[in-house]
């Protein structure tokens, strides 16, 4: 399926999706309140069947915090990139997609730890990589640590 056909189908199920320019994969952003319902439709719909979530990335956009989901379909082999963001840097919250794609459990724990984004309804949101008493979220752009030797 080409990106244009894919775009049509997705607009049909979610008119609020905002598409952005990307030469490679079809990219769209969605408000964070709509994310869970949209994700459910992406996996459930017979024509789309995005059943393989292969990457979740946290991005610090300075003004906002963004989470990027890379989706693949094991049947049709088309790829979709879904983005969602929150402007709240103090207490950012985004819905978890764990119950749809189980792989999200670990990826979200990683994003939680490195960016401090909390995922609602996550079954087990704990630290994964850093020490238990680590202060701060190291992957944020404003993170400071005396231990770093800058170059």
């Amino acid at each position: 399926m080409t990106n244009d056909q894919l775009k049509e189908k997705i607009t049909a199920i979610e008119p609020e999706a905002v598409f952005s320019e990307n030469k490679q994969y079809l990219t769209l952003s969605i408000p964070k309140e709509k994310l869970f319902a949209f994700a459910e439709k992406l996996k459930g719909s017979e024509a789309l069947k995005f059943d393989f979530l292969f990457n979740i990335t946290g991005v610090d956009r300075q003004k906002s915090l963004e989470v990027v989901y890379h989706l693949d379909s094991s049947v049709y082999r088309h790829v979709l990139v879904v983005k969602t963001e929150t402007t709240d840097r103090e207490n950012p919250r985004i819905d978890s997609v764990c119950s749809i794609w189980h792989t999200a459990e670990f990826h979200e724990r990683e994003v939680f730890e490195l960016f401090g984004i909390k995922f609602n309804n996550h079954p087990d949101l704990r630290r994964l990589l850093l020490e238990d008493d680590h202060v701060g979220y190291p992957f944020r752009k404003d993170y400071v640590d005396d231990n770093i030797v800058q170059r």
Partner: protein, 390 residues
Amino acid sequence: MTELINVTEPDKLTDQPEDQDKLTEQLEEQEYIINMGPQHPSTHGVLRLVLSLKGEIVKNIQPHCGYIHRGIEKMCERLTYQQIIHLTDRLDYLSAHHNNEAVCLCVEKALEVEVPERVKYIRTIIDELGRLASHQLWWCSFGMDLGALTAFFYGLRDREKILDIFEETTGSRLLQSYNCPGGLMNDIHPNFQKRVKEFITYFRKKLPEYDELLTGNVILMERTKGVGFLSLEDAISYGVTGPSGRASGFACDVRKHHPYSAYDKAEFKEILYTTGDTFHRYKARIDEMWESMKILEQLIDNIPEGDYSAKMKPVLRLPEGEYYQRVESCRGEFGVYIISDGNKTPYRIKFRSPNFSNLSALNIIARNFKIADLIAIGGSLDLVIPDIDR
């Protein structure tokens, strides 16, 4: 969380047999927690698993990672693209070349550089040699996990032959850093083709030996057949890729479905099994070695003449935007996601590591099996810990 062990009145229990039986009984009824790792020879590194057991049965596994978390992604935000390549080697050191290649392909895609045909062929060949070396090492350590020390010596004997080829051409045995954006660091050694062909003839004779030594072995069969099932739905949902995923029937070979470099020029089969138990994960890797040799044979004689690198600017600035590249590393799908803001360093770079997703499935695979089977299952997933932690 499972309940912690709480033996009623332990002080009153003595060494007497009836008291000891009572203790055993109580222990068997309750779940208890033991800690495995981070320094444990069969976790292949510094993975820590917290297991809740009931008797000998594993009820729940909680992986604790991060004992080798080096923050590579954050470091990359201050490095140029040429420098990043050397750090990607250190993620999954057994598929160093695949990781390099992913970054290079991603940068080339962003800059819209067309690399010479020769580069594509050489990259593919080195990829497959690396895959062979990695699977050999996996075979050694899997054998060792199950107590077959002979496997260790046989596998590493053949691996040294590949490392010799690497050393001659790339200059390094393990972490080659042979790629650079636009092509390769150097041309291949004049002996390269000859030695690869020699190696294939040699290894075609030796690979059946692996089967004779280990595959038909009664102990291996007993410990792997029917142990540690992963269903197709779970494999997809947990994102288990690579040979481990394909053993469950998940057609996830990036080389086939999203071809890169010269993989579209070679004929090969995607190894698929359906059972998804430990034995088939083992079998998938052995079969992949045969396929790798097939790819090598097809490409090695057809390396086109030409440059070993495209003309590149010394300072690379990727145009603003987002780029993603997937490659098939030895353990599954490796991905590089670069967000560029037009500077010479990436704004954010993310490595999708195959082991990270594969590890997340360990809990459902090993649950309700014996703790001894956990070793076999962990070995069959072929985890490389620095790649999980990054």
